[in-house]
Point group: C2
Chain length 299, copies 2
């Protein structure tokens, strides 16, 4: 029986704290790791995976990440909770499609790295309250079901956006899942999320891609890079292995914030350039000592 706002069934989830069936849309790094964590924490009994590519679903089945592979509509119909973790450009139509077909008992969440465009797209949907906009701040430079790992997410932040637009109990359920994964929950509106994400994630990826291109352009001796790469290069260039299919849509959706940070980054690099050109040791020292302040912030 439903109460007046129709959310009695969400109470049931909260009480038994477990789902019979969860669908993960995408069976890659995030969705796969999410599925593994749901099983590990005994949050879901049965996990359905949805992938555009049959080979990918098959791989996820083989790896034991999902229990069943189904097309989107069938999967959604069977699930109490649907988790979307696919490139942010396809997240929007897929979340809208899911909201079109879910009933009052179901909850949908996404894991995208940009939140504002999605927030705008779903804003007026009649089922908006059943959608929770989230960004678990964890990832690696790898993709696909083989990239999914046990124990991901723990100790990291998870941003949940625009909670006032979602059903309060549904938020609690999703929040509870992430907390059980060991994540720290941060509430933020989508617009602020995208500004901060540009600083603490998107610019790092651009820097890393550009660094890889710099070295590949100028350093023709691949063997030398390979042999000498111990000197700090690996950690700064690691993210340059990340997939274009994921990051192009992120940069495009968060274009203005990313451009803003990128301009500042180029300005900062020019200061290093000027200090070297002028052999200005005092300025160079000042730039580095200022950068060292990051020690206070990053452990």
């Amino acid at each position: 029986m439903k109460n007046e706002n129709g959310h009695e069934d969400l109470n049931v989830h909260l009480k038994k704290e477990i789902f019979n069936t969860v669908t993960v849309v995408g069976v890659g790094l995030i969705s796969g790791s999410f599925a593994l964590a749901l099983k590990e924490k005994k949050i879901a009994k049965h996990i359905i995976g949805v992938s555009k590519t049959d080979g990918t679903s098959q791989k996820a089945l083989e790896l034991g990440i999902i229990d069943e592979a189904l097309p989107l509509r069938e999967a959604v119909q069977k699930s109490e909770f649907i988790y979307v973790a696919i490139p942010v450009n396809v997240t929007i139509p897929v979340v809208l499609e899911i909201l079109d077909i879910i009933n009052d008992k179901q909850i949908v969440a996404d894991a995208g790295s940009t939140k504002f465009a999605l927030s705008e797209a779903v804003k007026n949907h009649p089922m908006r309250k059943h959608f929770i906009s989230t960004h678990p701040m964890w990832g690696t430079e790898y993709s696909g079901p083989e990239a999914a790992v046990h124990g991901a997410f723990a100790g990291r932040a998870c941003v949940i956006c625009d909670v006032e637009r979602s059903d309060e109990k549904a938020v609690k359920i999703v929040e509870d899942i992430y907390r059980r994964f060991g994540m720290n929950i941060v509430f933020m509106d989508s617009e602020n999320h995208d500004v901060h994400a540009a600083y603490v994630s998107h610019i790092s990826h651009i820097t890393s891609f550009a660094l890889a291109n710099t070295v590949l352009e100028k350093e023709k001796e691949e063997e030398a890079i390979f042999e000498l790469s111990g000197g700090g290069f690996e950690s700064t260039v690691r993210l340059a292995k990340s997939a274009a299919s994921m990051w192009v849509p992120v940069f495009m959706q968060n274009r203005e914030n990313v451009l803003d940070v990128l301009n500042e980054h180029i300005t900062q690099l020019r200061k290093f350039k000027a200090s070297l050109e002028k052999e200005n040791v005092a300025f160079l020292t000042e730039l580095i000592e200022n950068a060292n302040k990051i020690r206070k912030i990053i452990k």
Copy 2:
């Protein structure tokens, strides 16, 4: 008894494969880790540490990194092997001072991140053959004796420069030490070393310092950086904690190569900027896919 080139005593080292006494000049990250590794691999019985700062020597003694702290001259007089790992600007006068006082039985090596300026400085010293110019490509963003770790160096590259200017047996001894640490030896002339080091190490540090400054400049909400820093930021900004006292001299000594790479890096970042400004998805994709080629080179 000495043979005609006066190096019989080096044969003795090679045979017994152990030093009675080694001096490490500097008792920080590299020198400290080097001292620990010498003990661990039973390459040295007694280790003397030399530091400008009494407190630092004291700390290194307390941590069991060195057995004795002495002023430079006294330490050198007692040692068969002297290892210099201090900022590259002070490496030059210190190595020259050591070469001035060593006898025919002693070997000196340094661990600096730049090699050409040092190479030029020692080139005509009568004891040049007793000096081995090395760069073990390992490090962390921390400094001081507390930063020294067991098992450093293993699996990394160690560049040995200008070997034709050093005594062949002395090179073999130093090479053997690094090999016992588990390092892969790469031979290179100083000039080439500095070009490659600009690519695979120095630019990564500049990028990281500039990235920290970018975020510190624009992102006034320190708490947000702190909370959200899981998204790739930590690995790219880690090096920004590195000490100015070490890196300013490196950048200044390798100024021209670093500027060359830095200019290319800014050019590459501008391409990302242009692709975003023009919303040129194809170009942005191409830039990222090109960067992905680094996968072939970096595991």
